[in-house]
Symmetry: D2
């Protein structure tokens, strides 16, 4: 099990408040959480690396990629986006985290705007399991409580999820489909709405549990090539 944790790593270096929570970057904390729960080889990659740390050989060797971005979505090179999307369609698992909903990668794989409503006032978020036998919900309390977080609210402009696992409520009253599974090509995609960079959400043990469950769920069943064009054939019997 080889996991690559991709982090934009911009706020952590630019904003004192974020650096205070994640001095070594959010990606290192996410990676540490996965290492603590999975028997996996977990690496990291960031925006400022050549090819954003995601050259072809790294993606080919990655079973599951996690993606967190926020302020620099437009700085992600289209060639890398192409490569990541092709890898997902070819079977690589993908976890899209929080503001990654607005990444080029997620929007291209969804085909929709992926817009939502938000309000950042440090509200209590409750994450309710609506599919208790789903492997991503394994071992999490009902509900997961995040004491202070940014609100993400409906309408969330995504395709109807293939599986809906979690729905959040916020102290202000909004709801959000914050745990959604999608199949695209040979790949599995899990969107999970925690956590904003201004809150220590990726230290939260239940959030870590969900991320680890998500990685296990998104593991490739098969890897393949995405065809460049429809495939002609004479007949299956020949």
């Amino acid at each position: 099990m080889r996991v690559t944790v991709w982090g934009e790593n911009v706020h952590e270096r630019r904003d004192d408040s974020v650096r205070a929570i994640y001095p070594d970057g959010m990606h290192t904390v996410i990676a540490d959480g996965l290492r603590s729960l999975l028997d996996a080889d977990v690496g990291t990659a960031t925006l400022d690396q050549p090819e954003h740390g995601l050259p072809a050989d790294i993606l080919a060797a990655t079973d599951v990629l996690t993606w967190w971005g926020h302020g620099a979505h437009d700085d992600v090179d289209d060639a890398v986006v192409d490569r990541v999307c092709a890898a997902v369609l070819g079977g690589m698992g993908l976890l899209v985290l929080h503001s990654g909903h607005y990444s080029k990668v997620f929007r291209r794989l969804m085909g929709t705007s992926c817009s939502l409503r938000w309000r950042n006032e440090g509200e209590r978020e409750l994450i309710w399991t609506v599919d208790p036998a789903h492997p991503i919900a394994d071992g999490v309390p009902q509900p997961i409580v995040i004491e202070a977080h940014e609100m993400y609210g409906e309408h969330f402009d995504i395709p109807p999820p293939d599986e809906l696992v979690f729905v959040s409520s916020f102290a202000g009253g909004e709801v959000f489909r914050g745990g959604c599974c999608f199949k695209r090509g040979l790949g599995r995609i899990f969107y999970f709405s925690p956590g904003d960079h201004e809150y220590p959400v990726y230290f939260h043990p239940d959030v870590r549990r969900v991320l680890a469950n998500g990685v296990r769920w998104a593991m490739p069943r098969v890897r393949g090539e995405v065809p460049d064009s429809p495939m002609s054939e004479r007949g299956w019997w020949e």
Copy 2:
């Protein structure tokens, strides 16, 4: 468009608090709401009538049936349940309201326990649209606000809905998939979680709007017989 509103009509006669809200029964208020918004022939039927007011000819003449029950689910005759379920599978639309989640009819059509969590403390409920282009959400505000209502919360033990239209939050923090569409046989089923009999929910204009939209959506596209057994055939070409 012929609609039959079925009401248990037990609490309204037994409990002063309910009778104060619905002196002529909840079914009459639901029916009035539909009449005010639809060009439809709306009748009513209740538990205490012969065959619960649902003999075969009434069902055959009904396009959409609405079902509200709470305290007397077990008193509904199994022969009537058979007949209603067969009508739905044969194309009749069905709206299941609030505590109707635990009716024999709904549980049989779903195949699951349809259990849920509840707490009756008169909390504020917010009903959020998660599918804004769905015809059942046409013209409703985001969110619908019900000032005081019983809480219904997850996990709601239903099959994954074919379409999820509304998700509620409650002042206490719970969420509920309160607006769910199902296809079963030739029929369409819409479950809508308002309203408890102790609150005047069926006078609420937005709730009325949803019910009218739901009736329109559930109108039969085709009516047919439910086969008693698999159908043998020689060949489609003969």
Copy 3:
């Protein structure tokens, strides 16, 4: 991994043609196939045993149950049907095979008639994978070829499957959604349309592979009780 293979075992004792293929019953051949591919404790149960071989302790100890029946659906005791359905809703996996589509168990869990079209003329069936990354399709050829089989055709009156894995075509031109996944309660259900008792389908290596994959997929993630009634609560925070 504990699997119980349930077989009606009527045709095998009554019909010479069936006994010639399955002298020890279809259930033993299905069980042998699973044993050859899974590291599992595989037992069998049949209609003629007390409680049809499915007393409460056997079900409680079963991770996945497979169900084949055809001519004696009505002879299955309702108390056993209740028990099996409750076990599925409580998390036990269920594989429903071929004519099991018309069993009391499957029909109750689906809520629909489960009728279909059929023609038994020993036609070639091709089973096409439409979800190649699904674990149940792991390692099967595209298509699986069954040289001679009974035709099952649309319309198959089931709820829209939560996942569609296989679609069959027949020499006569019909199609059939023959590999369908459903979530019900805490349980996973896989319907797989092979094999009729008049053909040696359960010796087919690709069919065996699908059954083994299906058992792995249907393994419980969690086991629980099905509530008898909605659960009141004071509040999740208390």
Copy 4:
């Protein structure tokens, strides 16, 4: 009801065999079919027109767009693709026809490769309804028979359809999910696999019926703007 029929109109002018069937272009035949069955204002647009006949004002005035392309997908200007996709997400209905599966528009809205298998030998295609109460299946025979057509076969690399209406079989034995519904943003998308330009499929009365049904189904329930970015809000109560 305003429909715009978009046709690539390349083969009809270049290939004698195609011109013999569709001397005035496939788009005119598709449009005639819709006019004969719908009370609609049906216009056409083609690749060789300025902005491919799809300037902003035409799209804004279009309720449902149909799209047929084959040999010139790469010649469709990206700015027009952007505009069409934005219109769909904003509520415009879209029917994607046959080889339009590989258009830029469909691939972008799906997020997958949309590849498939094909063989062009003039085989008999049977189109089976698997959702008989769906409005798009209204009034069509079981099955629709197309005497000679190109084979399209699985695996078709699309997201799991939100609704599956038709499944085709071919004389060679393949199957294809040829009638699929998708919700994207506020828009409805129907993919329908007939018809190849070398066969007179768009004169077929059952195919025409499906196209007319599809247009009715895809009519906008609501039109809106696609947000350029997530929307901040103070609170729904303010």
